[in-house]
Symmetry: C2
């Protein structure tokens, strides 16, 4: 377990997060936590149980109360998360738990404009939720828990925020909906305002990881990062032997990092995420630890087209972790079809009552018949690709 901090230390340090805690102290509960984990709120239990191998346990009894609180707990503070390119809010709960809110910006059945580059795409609240479920189904448990929630933008954001820059951007739309747009570098303008109906807004709430002052993280640039340019290609797109260089480069030359990376690639392929430019690990665990699968808002943008290039690392390195491979095989069996398992899993999210979190075309799109035949090039991979394809077609058909 993360366990490099005692509860007391943790508690004391938690109050160092004042920058993003803005409500008056009365809004918060009195804290009566002891070393007994039964006295801890779910978010603290979650933090203390993060291990070198995963964020939470298989069948973790803490998951249900944790996501329940994300979805229902009273919100005592809402401020903008600084530094992001798109609008995000940090929400605080009376028990000092915090969550990152991403608002709904696009209708669920809208597809990302095919002329947009991946780096200009909207972030989607339902992608954050669905990514958490998919990551868990794949057996990774590397996405921090996320729950959907219908937020009252007046009561739960506008009325309680102490963030003046945010408050200033609220307005009532011509049809009487309450809208806001915040301040950020992309899409924070009146044309891209986020609007309640009339004040209820769908959002994803992701539990915050331990503060960086308590559990520092290391950021790694993905070796298969895209160029983030409309005209340049990345090295991996032009060098046929790119993987052999990566395999010799630390930390990919030792331990499990390369197969950890492939795990992430499979997740990204299945959800169509092209935006994995970096990933993070907990500093304390060194190189021998899992990769955090953070920031999945640009996944699930298109159901009518897959992006085979996301699988390039797998294709080029021809490596996959055995347990992942077995999991994919399991999910290819008729009784565990990935699309069915996903549908069932998403059913448990509170927002499911409002509308299905992934539209059926997303669950039902058949990637195999489209792109696979063409992109199978390396003979060794054909088998794997065809099987993966099989699995994928099962998840998506």
């Amino acid at each position: 377990v993360l366990g490099f901090l005692s509860v007391t230390l943790f508690f004391l340090l938690s109050f160092g997060r004042e920058a993003e805690v803005s409500a008056s102290q009365e809004a918060y509960e009195d804290v009566q936590w002891t070393s007994d984990s039964n006295s801890h709120p779910p978010w603290l239990r979650f933090h203390l149980n993060i291990s070198r191998w995963q964020l939470y346990l298989h069948r973790d009894p803490n998951m249900e109360p944790l996501t329940q609180q994300l979805a229902t707990h009273r919100i005592v503070s809402a401020v903008q998360k600084s530094g992001g390119t798109q609008l995000k809010l940090v929400m605080s709960f009376p028990n000092y738990g915090q969550a990152m809110l991403k608002p709904m910006k696009q209708e669920r059945d809208e597809e990302t404009n095919y002329n947009l580059y991946y780096f200009s795409d909207f972030e989607r609240h339902n992608a954050e939720i669905a990514a958490f479920h998919l990551d868990r189904i794949l057996g990774y448990r590397r996405v921090p828990p996320v729950a959907g929630r219908l937020v009252d933008v007046v009561k739960e954001i506008k009325d309680i925020t102490t963030d003046r820059k945010l408050a200033r951007t609220f307005f009532t739309s011509p049809v009487g909906n309450v809208c806001f747009y915040g301040q950020c570098s992309y899409y924070c303008s009146t044309e891209h305002a986020v609007c309640g109906r009339p004040r209820h807004l769908e959002a994803s709430l992701a539990v915050m990881l331990p503060d960086l002052s308590l559990a520092s993280r290391r950021t790694w640039r993905s070796p298969w990062r895209r160029s983030y340019s409309r005209s340049k290609l990345a090295k991996w797109e032009t060098e046929p032997d790119y993987c052999s260089t990566v395999k010799k480069t630390p930390p990919y030359d030792k331990g499990t990092r390369l197969v950890d990376f492939m795990d992430m690639v499979i997740l990204d392929f299945l959800m169509g995420n092209m935006d994995r430019h970096h990933y993070e690990t907990f500093e304390k665990f060194g190189n021998n630890t899992f990769l955090l699968h953070l920031d999945n808002g640009r996944a699930f943008g298109r159901h009518s087209k897959d992006e085979p290039s996301i699988l390039a690392p797998l294709e080029q390195c021809c490596r996959i972790r055995r347990s992942t491979w077995l999991r994919l095989r399991l999910l290819s069996l008729p009784q565990y079809r990935l699309s069915d398992v996903m549908r069932a899993s998403l059913f448990s999210d509170p927002l499911h009552r409002v509308a299905p979190l992934l539209s059926e075309p997303h669950l039902a799109s058949d990637c195999c018949s489209r792109n696979y035949q063409q992109s199978v090039q390396v003979s060794l991979l054909i088998n794997l690709k065809e099987r993966l394809c099989n699995l994928i077609s099962i998840w998506q058909s």
Copy 2:
């Protein structure tokens, strides 16, 4: 007729427009114009025939060649029109004619986001085209002729432009379409790029009016201008007796200005244009002249909802020009249903071959059954409103 300039003077002065003429001189034809109007290109004939009463004649034989040239003539220059809020290009033809190009930005059947204020709406190329037809059908002839055209963004813009700022914004989209976004204050960014398929782009081309140095224009602020604020109301929205003030204010106190204004209001209502903050007249004709109906790109944004507030001037002043009234009555007869006349008229536009210029919901939306009953307040107007409503329902059902 406009006739305050001789052809020679006109021709000489035309070359003063160098700022927006950028192609090399060889691209242009040798000019052999005389005082005989048969020697003039259609655009010059159009300019010279502008009168105090209208832009062109009823059954004007020059209209067909003029719109034909807009739609098919070789483009020798394309530069950005400076000063606008949204992307517009000035296109030049070998015979020194010029046109204002507005590109297609929205799919035809998309409706403007109902949370957007009118002043944040996109401009629509098909609205410019449809407005020209509707204005002509209403018998006004106050919109400069517009034709649709499928433009090759590579050959007809990128390859020939001398506008470096424009050229710099071209790129190829992920699916291989050629896109550009230009420089302007709204929607000129990579997320809002205008894209060919793969290089053919629908656009509207409106013939340019005589240069301001030849025929200066006066700009009038609309007395029923909206507030252009998300929170403030305009005077006309709160003062019940607003019209009586306007009626006493020059130029609305004399001549035909008030009924000219009502003509514009009826046009704007029928096409759902809330963005008529100003209008223009030709200076030379003083106050006793028609109003130019320029800039109609924000019309036809919604077919599922009418905006009765556009009719406020009519409601408040209870005035309408007799010929307009008779025209509306004519267009209410089964054999001249406005929707049918519009459909037939739009059929003649070259872009009609690509796709209908107004989607059927636009032609078929039934405004009457929706908003009219509620907004009928002034008893004197009930009759008029009901009849107008009748007409409108005919045009829209």
